[in-house]
């Protein structure tokens, strides 16, 4: 008998070797108590969180929590059904209405996760014979959506406008074309030149889908994302987003002005063949989205945090993923996985949690310590974070 698990032997060995060096397991961290959006007790230590996607700090907002509790009492713990059968409660309609207002778009469709939103929309609209042109650094959910849908998949070098244009021009003129971009690329925290890319996509007859998971609530005058910030949101055919970042719960969505968009509810399998979100989740999401519409001050403070942390870590001599702060993600590039894991552990021992990102999730096989900031981080916390990076970086021999 061939052991079907033998294909994972390399990964098992990499993990064994890493743990054999004595480092605390970076992939088994437990949050024992969560004290606020920015502080938790992890593995027994009180820890500043700078590796969550809780950008706008909505998880402990009193109105959000009250809405969730009320929905639990009124509607119960779960729907036990698909959106197209018994799984659409008034809360699901309300959160879709909140999304339409947030984005000022005609249609909104909510999925059970952000992963399923990309999987469902991409695989359903781009099928056999169609072409998908996408950035090579796209998220796993985008790649999986491409694979599920059977379209011809044509990647281009990250953020390379010319490479994208060349490929679009080589596609047969009468073929269906979908260009897939992200507003913020989550590994390095860099943004896409959406204005230029979308203009080229449109000039070549392509529809455009933009994943704004890491920009919602924060980037753009109304927090609608990078496309809004660059003044091209009206050119985007489909915006994909998530409730698991700035919104502060779980779920995914697509908003669109396409006149036939509602047919998606009948033909999109990752929407149909799964249970809908629990009533408490959609109630917290709707409340949070409505509050994010008025989050101007929080957005300002989050930008301040991002600028301060980027400048502070750069001044210490670390290598960063971007020359300037472009989002709430600041990626610190480590020389290799061993030293990255050692540095990660040193930070944790000092009371700081960041994301350790490693291949294959990272571009160019890099090991990254990814800091993602929250609007609820105080200026004092940001200074402490910089101080911890200095001590840990020296202890790990990286600066």
């Amino acid at each position: 008998m061939t052991d079907l698990f033998s294909k994972f032997d390399d990964i098992i060995e990499m993990r064994r070797a890493l743990l054999a060096s004595g480092v605390e397991d970076p992939f088994s961290l437990v949050m024992e108590r969560v004290l606020s959006p920015t502080v938790a007790v992890c593995n027994g230590r009180e820890t500043i969180l700078v590796g969550t996607y809780n950008y706008m700090g909505m998880t402990f907002d009193p109105d959000v929590i009250a809405a969730g509790k009320e929905a639990l009492d009124l509607y119960g713990s779960g729907t036990t059904g698909s959106r197209v059968l018994n799984g659409t409660y008034s809360g699901h309609r309300e959160v879709e209405q909140a999304l339409r207002e947030f984005y000022a778009m005609d249609h909104a469709m909510v999925f059970s996760t952000g992963y399923q939103a990309n999987l469902g929309i991409i695989s359903t609209i781009a099928g056999k014979g169609d072409y998908i042109v996408l950035d090579i650094d796209s998220h796993a959910s985008i790649w999986d959506g491409c694979k599920l849908g059977d379209a011809e998949v044509v990647p281009f070098k990250h953020n390379d406008i010319e490479a994208m244009e060349k490929r679009l021009k080589r596609i047969p003129e009468d073929a269906g074309k979908l260009v897939i971009l992200e507003g913020v690329y989550s590994m390095m925290g860099d943004i896409a030149p959406l204005k230029e890319m979308i203009a080229i996509a449109k000039a070549n007859g392509a529809m455009v889908l933009v994943d704004e998971a890491h920009s919602m609530g924060f980037i753009g005058p109304n927090g609608r994302g990078v496309a809004e910030d660059q003044g091209v949101l009206d050119q985007v055919d489909f915006v994909i987003g998530t409730f698991s970042k700035s919104v502060g719960t779980v779920g995914g969505f697509c908003v669109s002005n396409h006149p036939k968009f509602e047919v998606m509810r009948l033909v999109c399998r990752p929407y149909v063949f799964t249970a809908s979100l629990p009533p408490s989740v959609v109630a917290t999401a709707a409340t949070s989205i409505r509050k994010l519409m008025h989050g101007h001050n929080k957005r300002q403070h989050l930008w301040e945090n991002s600028r301060t942390l980027h400048a502070g870590i750069k001044a210490l001599g670390f290598k960063l993923g971007t020359q300037t702060p472009q989002s709430a993600i600041i990626a610190v590039i480590m020389p290799d996985l061993e030293r990255g894991a050692a540095m990660w552990e040193a930070l944790l021992h000092e009371g700081l949690y960041v994301n350790l990102a490693r291949p294959p999730a990272t571009p160019a096989n890099m090991t990254l310590l990814r800091c993602s900031l929250c609007a609820e981080h105080t200026a004092d916390q940001v200074e402490r974070i910089i101080g911890i990076f200095e001590r840990a970086g020296k202890a790990a021999g990286i600066i």
Partner: protein, 79 residues
Amino acid sequence: MDRSEVDTSIRALIESFNKKGMDISDATRFTDDLEFDSLTVMDFVAAIEDEFDIIISMNLQAEIETYGQLVDAVVKLLG
């Protein structure tokens, strides 16, 4: 363009990616013999696409394991 012309062009292109200086035959495998990682594959594919003004989609790449299969695929795409 016939097969030998395509072969000559791709041989010239592969030089800068053939870090180990291996002799390349039709049976040479990109992953197992030349040890191309995903980034190298992307850059190499882009170079061939630009040289011949074609698209080698991920779907087609998945069917190509050897140098000979690549040359055949490019010949076919050029019609």
